[in-house]
Symmetry: C2
Subunit: 208 residues, 2 copies
């Protein structure tokens, strides 16, 4: 049975959502952020030297990295669900979204969070960071125009992996500028698996 090391208000929420969508049996091991520093607790370094969440254990195998975990669970345990046919061009687009979410889109959002802690001292970086955030959010929003999902006509791991980008846009109060993203979030939040994952993982606030 897959064991998910879950950190409150973190990227591991996506893994719970995925497992609920697949109706796979799993066990949650709860780790809690330090109330003051907001950092992950040392208990996570017992599972993997980086001490980050998400990390899953499946028998002897330990897998880190949201995109790799989603790819792994769907390939090994999905039974053909939640990914396009491997021979199709949609599969290439699916892989691209799996990589793009954390490989590019989250960077300016993380920069914004870190540099925000500097207050006015970070001001010289703000124009560049805001312009990069706008660049990525516009691209994601445009990619959802006329579509219900990121790839094809049904939910895939790409929607799950990408979910933090629209969620952060929402947390930043920017959804009004990105209507396709807003509509997509509405559809995802209406899914029973989303709601169950939120019940099990706890609410999260993606402060940005």
């Amino acid at each position: 049975m897959i064991k998910v090391h879950h950190l409150n208000e973190s990227r591991s929420q996506r893994i719970l959502w995925l497992l609920e969508e697949l109706s796979l049996p799993y066990e949650i091991v709860q780790h809690t952020r330090d109330a003051k520093t907001r950092l992950a607790p040392p208990s996570l370094t017992d599972v993997h030297p980086l001490g980050k969440s998400p990390v899953i254990q499946d028998g002897a195998l330990v897998v880190i990295e949201s995109g790799a975990i989603i790819d792994y669970i769907i390939r090994r345990h999905g039974g053909g669900r939640l990914a396009p046919d491997a021979a199709s061009a949609d599969y290439d687009r699916y892989q691209q979204w799996l990589h793009y979410a954390e490989g590019s889109a989250m960077l300016p959002l993380m920069l914004n969070m870190y540099v925000g802690r500097l207050g006015e001292a970070g001001a010289p970086l703000h124009p560049r960071i805001q312009s990069e955030i706008a660049n990525h959010l516009a691209f994601v929003n445009d990619s959802l125009a006329g579509r219900d999902y990121f790839v094809g006509d049904s939910l895939t791991g790409a929607d799950i992996q990408m979910s933090f980008v629209p969620e952060v846009a929402k947390a930043m109060g920017k959804l009004a500028d990105y209507p396709h993203m807003a509509a997509w979030i509405g559809r995802m939040h209406a899914r029973p698996a989303w709601k169950t994952a939120l019940d099990k993982g706890g609410p999260y606030a993606l402060g940005a």
Copy 2:
């Protein structure tokens, strides 16, 4: 024939290296950074709305994101080379490295580069950034202990995708602290395909 939109001193260097390793025919379209801002030129937005490099075109398909491009080229054109057997646990590790490089390891390195532009004003963030860089470099270095390659006994796309992390450590003058990384870089730089890619793409300095 695959068309690689190559930006000088950028992540697209890895794609040239991959194509040289596979001896695939390809065409380089050269884009040059603005000499003053170091930003990518507008010519890249004609290829993809994000205006970033690397981006490849293969017939009608446009693929962005280093990890996704490496995965794509090897899956569709590798003929079984440069990736572990898909049924093996090494394949899961291979996918993990493809995601980890840009999904996690590069984040503190990019933060260091951006926050470094603030000079002393960025000082409050330095301890956290440096500790995260040390955390990731130690993990990568330890993962290479007793191994010639990131996965299995021969070169895979994981080495190519991960290459920027040891290269940035080198540019930061930190290689002496990470001997397994230093040895790995020595092996990679000795490969004929590495040298040919460097000849074609031009030298790059990963200032951090």
